[in-house]
Amino acid sequence: MSYQLHRISVLVVEDNEPMLEIVKSLLHTFGVGHVIGAPDGEVGFSRFCEYNPDIVIADWMMKPMDGMTFTRLIRNDERSPNTYVPVILMTGFSEKRRVLQARDAGVTEFLVKPFDARDLYKRIAQVIERPRQFVRSGDFFGPDRRRKRDAEKSGNYGGPMRRDTDTAETTKSRIIDQKNDAYEALRKIREKNGLAKGDKFDINPDDIDFA
């Protein structure tokens, strides 16, 4: 059984025509059912409103409207048919501050150019398998910029205390829980294989009960 990508549509917004064709061809090869192209953010947004695609892939630097402004429109404009749509931003920039800028605009994933077919596939698989929860906070609306398992589980993020739902106690108890889980997983492996404490062994993910 594999992904039924023929059931989805993807909008690709890219001002560089040969590049647009490359991305469209890759998506067709992946089996995507409907690939829509647009040469800039302005046209891209009108096609987004028209087709309501399942995934958006956009270049960062475009005229007259760049990928960041386009993403903000998707997230915040009242005409947007789906403010939660995953947006994958393509760019040559890879510096951390650029990633942060993109996250602040509401981008879901970042795809650094040049990329290969697997890089593109990984981003698509990421938005399918690990969708981000969304946050509405002050003047920001978009995917949670801090992807944490804890946040996904409970809605409480355990990182730096910047939100009033964050508490040091939850952070501490989460770390203790994780440590206890790890000890328990090791104990089960030792028990199953008749090993004593201190015996060395290779960890096989299949031996760990992640539940």
Binding site: Y3, N16, M61, D116, A117, Y121, E129, F134, S137
Partner: protein, 192 residues
């Protein structure tokens, strides 16, 4: 309503509403990923892409040279960032697109150029000469159709450009800035 911070130098904590939208995408596509066969086919398609990079690169070269000329005309600009932005934009396009069209050496050289542009304080004549050296080198790579990483010759070219940047910083130690600027939104005339 935000809670009061303990100190005025603290950012007030924000009320955050967490929303978990339904995963309609997953519901549509199901599970299982894509097979290696499909991924290999896609990769082969990318590797066999025969689109010409030359015409596209020419547009970026022109844009880059225009940025250099603008910088030369305005040697005491009010806004150095804005001047640099006009050079960094086409450089970024060369970096991003070179490798997509089999010119990995263009990507490497343009990446070095961006690194240089992101740390210089102002685009003085010596800095601009280095930019032109990068431009000349990258143009030669494209015109000679040197695809791939260029092998040993490619490494030598990158080393030479790198050394030129290092010599510049040795000569002008105060010309290295450590502040993050937002060049991207400074560009008002991007080509193409």
């Amino acid at each position: 309503m935000s809670k009061e911070p303990d100190h005025f130098n603290q950012t007030p904590r924000r009320k955050a509403e967490f929303i978990r939208p339904p995963n309609t995408l997953k519901a549509k596509v199901g599970s299982g990923g894509l097979s290696e066969e499909i991924l290999n086919k896609a990769q082969t398609l990318l590797e066999n892409n025969a689109a010409e990079f030359g015409p596209l690169a020419d547009l970026y070269f022109t844009s880059l040279m225009r940025g250099v000329e603008m910088a030369r005309l305005d040697q005491a600009p009010d806004d150095n960032e804005n001047v640099i932005a006009h050079i960094i934009y086409p450089a970024m396009q060369l970096k991003a697109n070179g490798g997509m069209f089999h010119y990995q050496l263009v990507t490497r050289a343009a990446d070095k150029l961006i690194q240089f542009l992101e740390v210089i304080e102002k685009p003085d004549e010596e800095a601009l000469e280095i930019v032109v050296a990068f431009l000349t080198t990258i143009r030669a790579i494209v015109n000679s159709k040197i695809t791939g990483d260029g092998g040993r010759h490619g490494r030598d070219l990158i080393d030479a450009l790198n050394h030129a940047c290092m010599r510049y910083f040795e000569k002008h130690p105060g010309q290295r800035k450590d502040i993050d600027f937002d060049y991207i939104h400074k560009v008002d005339d991007q080509t193409p």
